[in-house]
Amino acid sequence: MQTNSWVPFFPEQASTFAWQVDALYFYLIAISVAFTIPIVAAVFIFGLRYREREKYATPEEMHGSIVLETVWSIIPFVISMTIFLGGAIVYYNQYRPPDDGMNVYVVGKQWMWKIQHEGGQREINELHVPVDTNVKLTMTTEDVLHDFSIPAFRTKADVVPGRYTYLWFNATKPGKYHLFCAEYCGLNHSGMGGYVYVMSKEDFAAWQSGNVSGQTPVEQGRDLFENKLGCASCHAGGPQQRGAKLEGIFNKEIKLVGGSTVVADDAYIRESILNPGAKIVEGYQPIMPTFKGQVTEEQLVALVAYIKSLSGVADTGGQPAAPAATPAATAPANSAPPANR
C-alpha cells in the first residue's frame, strides 16, 4: 500500500512469497485477458456483422458441433488445472512453517492484537520484526474469529478461539506495513489493526533491548488500561459495555446519578479509579471495582494521561495523541504513535 511500487495502485512486495503470489496473479490476469479478448471481440464482430438486416429474417440453421464442444471443454479444464497447481504450490510455501526462525505469539481480542515476543516484549497492534528472518506467528483469540492479515506480505490466516493457527513470513524490505483484521469481528472490526515494522537486524536488536522502558506514559497507560488492569473489559466503548464511555470526557460536565454534575478533571478521573463508588455516572450501575492498592502512583499518572489522550489532550512527555475526531474510530489502534526507531 506504499506509494513506491512499480504499478499504480499495486501493493508493495515485502516478503519472500509476495512475488510468487503476484506471479500467480499475473498468470491469471493473462488467462483472463486471453479469454476475454476473443470472446468480447467475437461478440462485437458478430454483433456488427450479423446485425439484423431485415426484421424477422430467418438465418440459416446451424447445429452444435461435438468437436467444438469437446475442444472448448477440454481447454478450460487443462488451463484450470494449471491454475490449481500454481495455487497449490504457492499455498504450500505459505503454510509450511519453517523449522527455524523466531516465534511470536499473537492473541486477538475485540478489537486489538496483543503480541508477545519470545524476549518478553509486548506490543499492541504493532509488530516489530527483523528483516530477512523467518518469523512464525502462533495465534489464537480470546473471543471471536479474527484474521491476521498483512497485504504487503500477501498472507493472512484466521484466528480461531479454542485453538492455535499459524502464520509465517520472511520480510524482505524494511518499512512500515499495514496490519489488518480481515475477519469480521464486530463493532470495531475496521479499527482492529496497526502496523508491522520491518527493521534491519541491528535496529531490531536495539528495539528489543530498549523497548522495556521505552513506553511513553500514554502508551504505558494504554497498556495498563487494556491489558494489565483490564479496564477495557468494561470500557472498550462498545454498545454492550458495562462501563462508561471514556472518549472525550475530559473537562466535560458529567451527569451523575441523583442529578448533580461534576467536571471530569484529573482529580475526578483519579477518584473514579480509586474510589469509584463516590460518584456514579448517570445511566450506569455502581459495579466498578476499586483499584486502590492495586495501582502505583506512577501507574495512576499513566492511566490519567491515557484517559485524557482519549479526549485529544496531550499529557506530560507523550506525543500528541491523534485528535478524536470520530469517536467510533478512536480505537487506540488508530492513534498509535509510530515507533521512534
Partner: protein, 557 residues
C-alpha cells in the same frame, strides 16, 4: 392465437378475460392459485426488497466516500452491510428469477395450465411474506450486525443484535424456496404438453430445473443451521461454542454447504434467461442445446462439492483446502461451455439489439469477468491474499449484479409485454441499460484493484491512500442507482400509456408467445401440441413472417 395484423383498436374491440382481469377483489389476489398472479405478487414484493437493499448499498457507498467513519458510526455501518447482504441475497436474488419469471413462465413454456401444486405455490409466497415480515420487523427493532454469513461465535455469543429474529426470518423464507423448487421439479416432470419432450424444453426450463435441485438439496441444510444458531444463542449452549469444546468452523461447513450451491441458485436461472435471449434475439437455434442443458445440471451437482473454497484461511485442514480448490476449478468448466456456446450462437444470426438483448450482451461481458475472477479466488495460493478483501466483494457483485440482476432485468423487459400486454419505451430502455452497464463497471471494477491492494471488506474506515478508488466506486454507484430507478418509472408508465404489445411482438416460436398477452387464467385457449424443437425459426414453427411485417407497418407508424 396470434394477433398478427391487428391494430391497437382492433385488439381493444374484443376484450377477453385474461389473468389480470379475471377477478379483481383483494381475495381473488391473496387466495389465488394462479401462478401468474402469484408471480406478480412476488414481483412487487421482491422489487420492494431490492430497493430497500439498494438503499443500504447507497449508504454503504456514501460512508466509504471518505476514509473515516463520518457518515455512519461503525456499528451502524456493520448493520448496513449485513442487512444489505441479507435482503439482497435471501429476499431479492434467490427468489428473483425463479419465483417471478419462473413462476410466471414455466407452466406456459411447457404448455401446462398451472404449476402442478398451485396451493403449495401460494403457501410458498406466504412463507416468503412471513419470513420477510419477520426480518423487516427485526430490522426496525434495531437490526443485526453479524454479516450475512452469521459466523459463530460472534453471532451466537457476542453480537448484541436481533440475530434470532432474522435467523428465524431466513429459516421461514427458506421453506418458500424449497417449496418453489419442489413445485418446479414436479411440474416439469408431469405437466409437459403433448409433444413437449425433455429436449424440446426451452433452456430456461432446464435452468430452473437445475436450480430447483439445488433448492431442494441445499436449502434445508441452511435452515437447520440457522435454527441451530438460534437455539444456541437462546440456550447459551451448543455445538459451535469453542469454550466448551464446540467448533465454530462446523458452522461454516454447514453454512457453505448450502451457500455455495446457493450462488448457483443465484446464477443458473439467469443463465437460463440469457440462453433464451441470445437465441431468440439472434433468431437462431442455440448452439449446442444439449451441452447447455446438461451443463446446468452439472453445475448444480458439482456445485455441492466445492463449498470449502470459502474457508481457505478459516483454519480448516490444509488438505481439505487443496481438495476444495481442485474441485472449484472443475466446476468452472460447465460455465465455460455455456459462455462459448452463447458466443457461437451469435455467429451468422440476425441479431436484434432491442433492450433485452442489450442486457444479454452486458451479461456476457460481466459474467465473464465475474466468473474469471472466481478462478482467482479458487486458486488457493492466491486466495490467501485475496480472501476477505474487496476483491471478493467485486467478484460476487460481478456475478450477482452483473450476472443475475442483469439477466433478471433483461428477462423482465423481454417478457414484460407478455406479463402486462404493454410495450415499454424502447428508447428509455436502452438508455437505462447503458447507464446500468457503465455505472456497474465504474462501481465494482475499482474494487478489484482495491482488493488486491489489501483493503479488507466490512470496513467502515480504511487507510487514506485507498480513497481515490473508493470515490470512483461511489460515483459509479450513483450512476448505477439512477440506471436502476429508471425502469421503475418507464415500466410503470407503460402499464397505462404503453403501446399494446400483441401476442407475439417479437415473432418468436416459444409456447409463451403462442397465447394471448396477457395470458388467460388457464394459459391457453386449447391445449397446445408441440411439434417443433426449441428455438425453431425455420418453416416448421408455423410463424407467419409476412403477417408480422404487415402488422408492424400498421402499428408502428
Amino acid at each position: 392465437m396470434q394477433d398478427a395484423g391487428l391494430t391497437n383498436e382492433e385488439i381493444e374491440e374484443k376484450p377477453k378475460l385474461n389473468y389480470l382481469t379475471n377477478g379483481s377483489t383483494l381475495k381473488s389476489w391473496l387466495l389465488t392459485k394462479d401462478h401468474k398472479r402469484i408471480a406478480l405478487m412476488y414481483l412487487v414484493s421482491v422489487s420492494a426488497f431490492f430497493f430497500v437493499g439498494g438503499l443500504y448499498a447507497a449508504t454503504i457507498r456514501l460512508e466509504l466516500l471518505t476514509p473515516a467513519t463520518d457518515l455512519l458510526e461503525s456499528g451502524t455501518y456493520n448493520k448496513a452491510f449485513t442487512q444489505h447482504g441479507i435482503l439482497m441475497i435471501f429476499f431479492f436474488l434467490i427468489p428473483s428469477i425463479p419465483a417471478i419469471l419462473g413462476n410466471f413462465l414455466l407452466p406456459i413454456m411447457i404448455g401446462a395450465k398451472d404449476l402442478a401444486l398451485p396451493r403449495i405455490n401460494l403457501l410458498s409466497l406466504y412463507f416468503y411474506w412471513i419470513g420477510g415480515a419477520l426480518t423487516i420487523f427485526a430490522l426496525l427493532q434495531g437490526g443485526v450486525d453479524t454479516g450475512w454469513t452469521f459466523y459463530t461465535p460472534y453471532s451466537t455469543t457476542f453480537s448484541n443484535t436481533f440475530v434470532m429474529a432474522v435467523g428465524l426470518g431466513i429459516f421461514i423464507n427458506g421453506f418458500s424456496s424449497i417449496l418453489t423448487g419442489l413445485n418446479f421439479i414436479v411440474t416439469i416432470h408431469t405437466m409437459r404438453a403433448p409433444g413437449m419432450t425433455w429436449f424440446r424444453l426451452p433452456l430456461f426450463v432446464w435452468a430452473n430445473y437445475a436450480t430447483s435441485l439445488v433448492m431442494i438439496l441445499g436449502t434445508p441444510v441452511v435452515a437447520i443451521t440457522v435454527l441451530l444458531l438460534a437455539i444456541e444463542r437462546f440456550a447459551r449452549v451448543g455445538i459451535f461454542d469453542p469454550a466448551i469444546g464446540g467448533d465454530p468452523i462446523l458452522f461454516q461447513h454447514l453454512f457453505w454447504f448450502y451457500s455455495h450451491p446457493a450462488v448457483y441458485i443465484m446464477i443458473l436461472p439467469g443463465m437460463g434467461v440469457i440462453s433464451e435471449l441470445i437465441s431468440n434475439f439472434s433468431r437462431k437455434k442455440i448452439f449446442g442445446y444439449e451441452f447447455i442443458a446438461f451443463s446446468s445440471i452439472a453445475i448444480a451437482v458439482f456445485g455441492f462439492l466445492v463449498w470449502g473454497h470459502h474457508m481457505f484461511v478459516s483454519g480448516q485442514s490444509i488438505y481439505a483446502g487443496l481438495v476444495f480448490s481442485f474441485l472449484t476449478m472443475v466446476v468452472a468448466v460447465p460455465s465455460a461451455i455455456k459462455m462459448f456456446n452463447w458466443t457461437a450462437t451469435l455467429y451468422k444470426g440476425s441479431i436484434d439489439f432491442s433492450t433485452p438483448m442489450l442486457y444479454a450482451i452486458g451479461f456476457l461481458g460481466l459474467f465473464l469477468i465475474g466468473g474469471l475472477t472466481g478462478l482467482f479466488l479458487g486458486s488457493i495460493g492466491l486466495t490467501v491474499h485475496l480472501t476477505d478483501t474487496y476483491f471478493v466483494v467485486a467478484h460476487f457483485h460481478y456475478v450477482m449484479v452483473g450476472g443475475q440482476v442483469i439477466a433478471y432485468l433483461g428477462g423482465i423487459h423481454y417478457w414484460w409485454p407478455k406479463m402486462t400486454g404493454r410495450m415499454y419505451s424502447e428508447f428509455w430502455g436502452k438508455i437505462s441499460a447503458m447507464l446500468v452497464f457503465i455505472g456497474f463497471n465504474l462501481t465494482f471494477f475499482p474494487q478489484f484493484i482495491l482488493g488486491y491492494q489489501g483493503m479488507p471488506r466490512r470496513y467502515a474506515s480504511y487507510p487514506e491512500e485507498l480513497q481515490v478508488l473508493n470515490i470512483f466506486s461511489t460515483a459509479g454507484a450513483s450512476v448505477l442507482g439512477v440506471g436502476l430507478l429508471m425502469p421503475v418509472v418507464y415500466l410503470a408508465h407503460s402499464l397505462i400509456y404503453g403501446k399494446k404489445a400483441g401476442d407475439n411482438p417479437w415473432l418468436l416460436p416459444g409456447l409463451e408467445w403462442r397465447t394471448a398477452s396477457p395470458p388467460p387464467t388457464e394459459n391457453f385457449e386449447k391445449m397446445p401440441v408441440v411439434t417443433w424443437e426449441a428455438y425453431e425459426f425455420g418453416e416448421e414453427n408455423g410463424l407467419d413472417v409476412e403477417e408480422a411485417r404487415r402488422r408492424d407497418l400498421a402499428t408502428v407508424r
